[in-house]
Symmetry: C3
Subunit: 668 residues, 3 copies
């Protein structure tokens, strides 16, 4: 496990570079990412390349034993290119161009931009193909950031028609699969289908879903343009991309098929403010939410079932969330440990030094703008030293949590309650698993499930018989399955199944959904299990179990009182729990604990909020995201590789023990 | 009284139609509405008509004794028409087109679209003129839904100039009546007057008012295109339109002049969420607010002073409000009774079967998508049976509540407090009347008032001498008049009257408004009457009564303390109460009770919230929109035609007694 | 000191004018403002002028001894001009024109509109150059109202490029000063730099700052077009402009360089609702916030260091805030006294008579629309009489509060917390000074400071060595300086200084900022001083004092606990307090009191909220903006010129005494 940093030598005088490299090496840094956003510096006018500065920067770093990751600079097309080809700009649904002046203003489907991309990437790849210090590449930067996956320009309109032509047999097939008889929405050619532009009422959900698929696919294609050129020039370097956290609009599974290494950018104190329901606590403002961060670690690890990198790790205070209190003491070290515990092999802090110019002046670096070390620097040095001899081992997770971007897009198009967020709902189950100390793979439903003891599928919304057969195979092999609300409701084309939900899963789950309801988040709903009353919220289904299906929880809220809310169907193999509500934390724990127990997965006692454990290759990390100290009860012979059994606020420890052999509690 | 259903055979295989018809007939259904939104199916390409499926559907239904209401399919112009004539699209104020992809994307003033409308309506009318099973027509669907009454396209700009030319003597007349000297807004031709497009500051209120009149008139004209063709083909069938609830932008009085039958679409649990101030209670989420629904019943009944239809009745959970808990047990039956009690002659549930495709998949039908009966089906069957022998009798309301869309538009353009909603304010008075068990006609102020004992005019904002004379005649004939705040403030052109409010009504009401104030809704205001302190809110006027005018309530809030707030002026006939505040429920009850008492109108004791009674043709309905049981005290000899004296939650009963002979209380 | 009124004779029949003039004279009115927004009346078609009505109006007023202030009518270009030259319209960032139909729809950079402006202003100036009754001019009206300072049209794009060309040596100089290497934002010509149009992410802060400077300069230039023509025609009349309250986007200092008289428009009960953080109290809804109003008085007085006018004084209820309760009894008189106390020489009420037409019908005048006197009329008469013999004396303020619009614009572009409002933050210090009865000059940082005993600089965000030297000179001369948070962070081009904040001020202040943090407003933060714990909020800096610098307050909030928050550096002259937090009222009082005490400035005891005193030329005004009575303890020989030692709610008194000799308390 190793530490790295993102570095922008072009922002600083060349005289400084040597000292920067020296200080990086001293800090224990191994990887340095370069050249992101550097197009205008590399090619100040069309066809005039200036690579000297980058050559020198790479050489300076290499002299200190540092390894370089280069970026294709395509996230920021220069002004000269926009002026020459304004048609490369993205457009809003109403046609307003997304102008030059920030970043990500290009359309993924622009033929001109693809040509220019090929040109600049080829030039860079040619230049550095024989440079040993360059070990890999990041394509572009954070595809889709600032809501840019979905563009509505004329190039996209044409590309969408082409995409539909490839997807459907003919336009009648589209009309049939979408269901365009409704509201006279029939199309007589693929050309006639537009992007979803402003309309009086909401769009057709099948149209929306396909535009979301098409938009994501456009990015996949665009990334492949980079990957193919880079691979063509040098097979030794890796091709990576840096994804974002809790990010809906781009299918990371599909992009990852073209990558050697999956990486993502982790900003815990921003994420709790701008992409999670509920106001963050003061501790969360200082260190983030370990399950929110961890779920992304597990998503990106699961994407290629391999160790991942954190390509950008929050180094201190940042500029973009509403507020930025200083991170807790040690938080920047904690995040590196927590990432490693989840399977990271490298954590690169963003950035080396606070930038004096442009949009990110309020974003800290490991060093301040005057070059002196900042709070994150001390944490990074500690992490580099503590993690140096941790191996890049596979994380063996006993549980798979199934996630399909198509389901996210379909539910987002018709949430049926403003509070019904697909990802928040999935996180409820993820939290419950993590609160029992279990490692979780977030994987696509079509993944081979045979190595998992248990599978949790929060919402397999779009479903067909093939998907049902895949799950049946898992269960019949003895697997334990927990299937959540809103599963099996729609066809893959976003029509309702004619049979009642869970549609293709109904026989397997031994249950039918008689009714569904949505409620404002502040309405108290409850169900009753053998263990007592359990809070639920927002979503409620009235279940009709098959004869052999047992009722696990029963609604107790007025109209639905007495109706089954959660059921369990035994099979000859494992069993299938169907949960027709959005469970509160206690119900989620009860359901998940039952599944894990039946599946024979060893767990911890329920962990305190904000404290998590992760086992990787015989080591268990304890990560304390709270300001309170915690105490770890470990087996007597367990060796603490890092830290000890008493952890301070925002502290981490590493023990040679199985996670399930530990017990962790807040210490008084 | 009869039950019906909206049916879309084109969404289902033909094999199913026969069984659907059979089940409808069994359920007691009499009317079936067909062909709404079916343009692309009827005319899949321009000039190629496919009526066979509709012929067959009508025949199948007719075979089971069902009567058919057809719809002109113009709410959804097909894509081929939009592609050929993109100029038919509506435009937002900033010029952005409202594109194809949902519904209602056409402009009412488009000459091309009127031509196409004439063509398709003529084809359909010709086809079915001799078809006995077709008893009537619905023109288009919900004119103005999704904020589409007001369009800002070039066709509308030209039509607006024409409308002004017809409305004013010449442009100097317009300049004079609007008052365009203010801010140099003078026009030198009708062509120079644009639609109210985006401007730095707010628009001229007279300009806004006339654009709202013009926009509404454009729909009236467009509806007439349909009505004339349909009447021309067959005089026997009725022409109807389905209006919406609490709908501001379209003058239903004016549209109704061209209709034989007025109908509207009632979705009680949606309305409490998206078009009413205040958060809905749990009971309201399950059944709606009887006064919100009832006020629309009475508006549309009053429009033609005749029984109306509910063309679309909520059948269960629906897709478009923020949340959709399941309706209360029996609510779908309750709504049919409540509509009948208010004067409905038919209630058609929307729709027969939950639709598998498109935007309304989350909208229930009487039957589920798999064809099995849903909760609403059982309720509809009960209602059909219970209401079968109720006659289509006239509702004799002793009280008129005056409402003019022009006043709504004028106050909406200058509310002077975000909380001042014209319709909410009117509903305060309506609630007070209904809480005393009185039937109310909502009518235009120019209606003949001679048959009413009392008139309540919540806000006759725009006024001239003619309107004042009309009210004076009513009062001098002995009528009791209650005139509410903000009356008589403006000329019909939305200029201030030079005389103080209530302007033309001042002599009649015997009072002048010295000052007006607006307050945030959370400021507690109060007045004092003989009966004690009474809460008021948002709006406060300081009144100066004439010598013979009595003070009914006096302000008690600091600055205004001691100033008259409500007055009563006797005349040789009846008397005129002027209420210069937005009354709380208690003050509204006190004022309304006084008026009814002086007018000799028999009332009930004040009814519990959510429970209402309506007398129609010697029968009185008790409607319980709450989950609590209620008990009815009726005369000993009163026969319960439906239900009994103890009602469950969401239950209805029908008694052979006068409303004022009943007393209703929540039972413990 | 004198009273005036804004009058629109064109809105009323000529027969009425004589009586209006007579009533004005009787009321004690001296100045009458005319012709604002009158372009379409003065020039009903291009080149056809109708000045007769204005001649007559002026003559009528002059006959009654009234003096006339004329307005150039350019805030409202007539429709005929817009139709002929639609290119004069402003444009939104996305290109949408700001259409005709309200006011201020013209672009300041339109060459056509400047030509038309010259034409109409010349015509008017020629016409009235020899008219004795016309004593001065108001240019246009409220430049920038309705967010119109910043336009994004093509004329502005071209003018911005020109502005940049004048500002920078060459485009490389711009690239260097802005720092355009970041995100490849380099420009290769001035033409390539666009206005900040819609972009995927936020704009470059240096780009934003320069566009804000350019936009403000465009208004300065446009105002100069008026001023030069008017001065050219007649040197005797004054040229004024009426600015707005709490107005960010226009640099009043720069506009004022071209004016003889600075005036502004004061609407206290609107300001507390629409441009201040925090919900207004009931008293504030009735009279406003004396410090919010006073800060604008002092800003505009400070702009030219001369008595100013209130060109528009709220006359009663107004139309544009969310709500308008009636002003408190006497509030319209109180405002005139309060303005005079702050250095006003004339207060003109807006307007004479409530207008029957157009957008401002809900805006009171001194007289109602029927011509009868309104509440404001009585107050205005009282004020005119009480203030008649007050001299137009200079206000001698011992304290300067430094304010630079560039700092406002820079912080607004990157607030780093939604709650960090530059002006609110400055007002915290202003309030503390005013609560000690001290007169304050709001002045530009480059102002000669030698006459001030103390200087408070809430946030000198952009800084260079020159600005630091200017303050050093003041301090070394013995001045006391209080420097607030976020000072010295950026270069004048909005790049971060390489040295830590307060950058160029660091040596003078003897302190460095180690870290900064922002917090949600509801997080309780505190510091400790010798006097105890003191609340602070939103912004927190961790300070590192130099060796000789004393710590005045220390953070007590968790992570920062023990770190200095406020420091004081002695010098051979005065001392420099640096405050690294947004102080609560108590800390602000403590810091300000210390500064004033060391500077030898006499103060009052801390005044009650809402009650203020101002000394001007030997007289001290007591202004009570609350509904509670207050009692004044004055020296025995002090004469009350107006009122007495007991003041009612919303009352004012004038005493012949120094402010610091008074003590004021709420009376029980
Ligand atoms: Zn595109
Ligand atoms: Zn139109
Ligand atoms: Zn412009």
């Amino acid at each position: 496990m190793t530490i790295g940093v993102c570095y922008f030598p072009e922002h600083w005088p060349r005289e400084r570079w040597e000292r920067d490299a020296e200080q990086m090496a001293e800090a224990g840094i191994e990887y340095v990412r370069l050249a992101e956003f550097s197009w205008a510096v590399l090619e100040p006018e069309r066809g005039v390349y200036e690579f000297d500065w980058l050559d020198e920067a790479i050489a300076t770093l290499a002299d200190h034993g540092l390894k370089v990751v280069l970026c294709t600079p395509t996230a920021t097309p220069p002004k000269w290119l926009v002026d020459r080809h304004p048609e490369i700009l993205q457009a809003d649904p109403d046609g307003t161009p997304r102008h030059f002046g920030s970043r990500r203003h290009y359309c993924f489907n622009s033929p001109v931009y693809r040509r220019e991309t090929r040109r600049v990437v080829s030039e860079m790849a040619d230049r550095y193909a024989d440079e040993d210090a360059v070990v890999g590449w990041q394509t572009d930067n954070e595809f889709g950031c600032h809501r840019t996956v979905r563009c509505y320009c004329d190039d996209c309109a044409a590309a969408f028609s082409d995409w539909l032509r490839e997807t459907y047999d003919d336009v009648d097939d589209l009309n049939e699969k979408w269901g365009t008889t409704f509201w006279s929405q029939r199309y007589d050619s693929f050309e006639a289908v537009d992007p979803p532009r402003p309309t009086p009422a909401e769009h057709h959900p099948s149209h929306l879903l396909d535009y979301r698929r098409f938009s994501s696919d456009s990015v996949v294609d665009y990334n492949r343009v980079h990957a193919e050129i880079l691979r063509d020039r040098d097979d030794d370097w890796f091709v990576a991309h840096n994804f974002m956290g809790d990010f809906e609009t781009l299918d990371a599974h599909a992009v990852a098929d073209d990558l050697d290494l999956v990486t993502w950018d982790s900003y815990p104190t921003g994420f709790v403010q701008d992409r999670r329901a509920g106001a963050p606590s003061m501790d969360e403002l200082r260190a983030g939410d370990p399950d929110q961060v961890g779920m992304n670690h597990d998503l990106y690890r699961g994407t290629n079932d391999a160790p991942f990198w954190v390509m950008e790790q929050q180094p201190g205070d940042v500029n973009w969330p509403p507020h930025c209190p200083q991170p807790g003491e040690g938080a920047m070290r904690l995040w590196a440990h927590h990432a490693t515990a989840h399977g990271a092999d490298a954590v690169l802090y963003f950035r080396w030094r606070r930038c004096r110019q442009g949009q990110e002046q309020y974003h800290a670096g490991l060093r301040k703008q005057d070059g002196s070390p900042d709070r994150g620097y001390r944490d990074a040095v500690a992490a580099a030293s503590e993690l140096a001899d941790v191996d890049a081992a596979h994380v063996d997770a006993p549980v798979a949590l199934l996630h399909d971007y198509d389901d996210w897009w379909a539910i987002d198009a018709q949430p049926h309650a403003p509070e019904f967020d697909y990802w928040e709902h999935a996180r409820t189950y993820y939290r419950a698993l993590r609160a029992r100390g279990v490692q979780v793979d977030l994987v696509h439903p079509e993944t081979d499930l045979s190595d998992y003891a248990a599978v949790v599928a929060p919402s397999l919304h779009l479903a067909d018989d093939e998907r049902a057969a895949h799950l049946r195979e898992f269960v019949e092999d003895g697997g334990e399955l927990l299937l959540g609300a809103r599963s099996g409701v729609k066809t893959p084309s976003n029509q309702l199944h004619e049979e009642l939900a869970p549609g293709p899963f109904a026989d397997l789950a031994g249950v039918r959904v008689d009714q569904h309801e949505s409620y404002p988040a502040d309405v108290d709903l409850a169900v009753e299990t053998d263990a007592g009353s359990r809070a639920v919220s927002v979503w409620s289904e009235w279940l009709v179990p098959d004869e052999d299906t047992e009722t696990v929880a029963t609604h107790t809220t007025d109209l639905a009182a007495g109706t089954p809310a959660v059921t369990r169907a035994p099979t000859d193999g494992g069993s299938v729990v169907y949960c027709g509500v959005w469970p509160g934390a206690d119900l989620a724990d009860e359901l998940v604990s039952g599944v894990l127990s039946r599946a024979g997965v060893a767990t911890t006692d329920r962990l305190p909020d904000g404290v998590r454990v992760n086992e990787r290759d015989g080591l268990t990390w304890v990560s304390n995201f709270t300001s309170d100290p915690v105490a770890v009860d470990a087996p007597d012979d367990a060796d603490f590789r890092v830290g000890e059994s008493s952890l301070d606020g925002f502290d981490a420890a590493v023990v040679e023990a199985a996670a399930s052999d530990l017990s962790v509690r807040r210490s008084p």
